[in-house]
């Protein structure tokens, strides 16, 4: 099967990759680019573990073909911290112990960041609705909500 050439920008870096047309963006990130921060949970768009930003839109990378990323910009968990400085959401997830096994965490962080870019001061209900597409089997969600609220407050300068 002929591989197809994909030229995409991942976390600001231009990347070229040859991919099989059946490979998802998730497959390309993990298997071709060795960026394994983005996790595979269900592979059907139900769990949100593979959440990334594609041209500034929050998507499940398991529901995007790798070739569809050609000419587009992808943001993953690997681009969230600035060098050694964690993003406020990352710090607050640690402070609030908003994770246990960690498989859902990259997706939840990407989804939470997208929420705060659209709504810097979300209510608990708004956070819960926004994160409905991200499943966590460990925490019971409460600590995640607290972490997002705390990070939002810090990012607003409170």
């Amino acid at each position: 099967m002929a591989k197809q050439y994909v030229n995409t920008t991942v976390n600001g870096d231009q990347m070229e990759v040859l991919c099989d047309p059946t490979q998802t963006l998730l497959d390309v990130l993990r298997d071709e680019l060795d960026m394994t921060g983005t996790k595979e949970g269900c592979g059907t768009g139900d769990c949100g573990a593979c959440s990334v930003m594609l041209d500034d839109v929050l998507v499940c990378s398991c529901l995007v073909l790798g070739i569809e990323a050609n000419g587009k910009s992808v943001e993953t968990i690997e681009g969230m911290a600035t060098g050694e400085d964690l993003h406020p959401l990352q710090r607050k997830f640690i402070d609030h112990v908003a994770l246990q096994c960690g498989i859902c965490t990259p997706g939840l962080l990407i989804a939470s960041k997208a929420l705060l870019e659209e709504n810097p001061d979300p209510t608990e209900e708004e956070i819960r609705y926004w994160l409905a597409g991200n499943l966590c089997r460990c925490t019971g969600y409460h600590k995640i909500i607290e972490a997002v609220q705390d990070a939002a407050a810090e990012m607003r300068g409170n």
Binding site: P21, G43, V64, I67, W130, A132
Partner: protein
């Protein structure tokens, strides 16, 4: 499997008509990619229609909206004018999957995936949306209710695909609404769905109505008896009783893990009343 992303309708029609193997049209991909990876379909060619400009547009011509079949749920949600004009369609769009899914999923895909439980379909039907379909034999106009005909099956001919949806100009004092019942508020599939679109005259009498039920038959239904229950009334309690009975009577659901026949039949009537009440409020405001 090969991947093609034509930039014009003509090129897409040519690709679809010229392919002898199995071809699948790709819009948001939130159903198609799942089907590919579950080996439910094994397309030889994927034709991605998202690079065709007219399939990505939302336009308003003198109050009559048209939107492309590749417009995402998020793009519609981010369109204030469309939200104000068709709140009932947006009730359905907001219930499609998660934020992540709505970033990709399209109403065109929801219609063409032909699930009887598709949330955007009943309100598109009650809006009297008409799909513009192209294919090897040219262009034709198809009412949305005639596209999905059974679970996973559409009336589209080989090589045909939906380009866009045309909505009629809304009369003054009209409103629409969609409600569904699900055990979970988000990320769930409708056990029952109901859309109502109605118009009032200056005295508050309902002059036109259309009611559609989802998830209670092999395809979304139009319930004429339910609409007749509202027309000529002020949508008062008596009319609501007749409406609920008509909606329940029209429901021919299956028993499955999501709901029993008895439950779905009763909920069809309850949702019809509640959706009508919301549509009425929107018509008056």
């Amino acid at each position: 499997m090969s991947y093609e992303a034509p930039e014009t309708l003509d090129a897409a029609v040519g690709l679809l008509a010229g392919e002898s193997g199995q071809v699948k049209v790709l819009a948001g991909g939130t159903d198609v990619l799942v089907q590919i990876h579950a080996d439910m379909i094994e397309p030889d060619v994927i034709v991605d229609i998202k690079k065709i400009a007219e399939m990505r547009e939302v336009t308003n011509e003198d109050g009559a909206w048209r939107f492309g079949a590749a417009v995402t749920g998020k793009e519609l949600m981010d369109h204030p004018g469309f939200n104000a004009a068709w709140p009932g369609i947006m009730d359905g769009v907001r219930l499609l999957g998660s934020v992540q899914v709505r970033g990709r999923a399209t109403v065109g895909g929801n219609v063409c995936n032909a699930s009887p439980a598709a949330d955007s379909v009943p309100p598109m039907i009650t809006a009297k949306a008409v799909a513009t379909v192209v294919g090897p034999n040219g262009t034709r106009e198809v009412p949305v209710e005639d596209i999905g005909i059974a679970p996973g099956k559409t009336s589209l001919e080989a090589g045909e695909f939906v380009v866009s949806f045309q909505l009629p100009k809304r009369p003054a004092r009209s409103g629409d609404a969609y409600l569904r019942f699900t055990p979970r508020t988000e990320m769930d599939i409708a056990v029952v769905g109901c859309a109502v679109n109605l118009a009032l005259d200056d005295a508050g009498i309902c002059t036109d109505a259309i009611v559609s039920l989802g998830a209670v038959a092999a395809r979304a239904l139009i319930v004429d008896a339910a609409a007749k229950a509202l027309i000529g009334t002020t949508v008062d309690d008596a009319a609501m009783e007749v409406l609920a009975a008509a909606a329940s009577a029209a429901a021919t659901p299956i028993d499955d893990k999501r709901g029993t026949v008895e439950f779905r039949t009763e909920v069809a009537g309850v949702l019809a009343q509640r959706a009508a009440a919301i549509a009425l409020e929107r018509a008056k405001s």
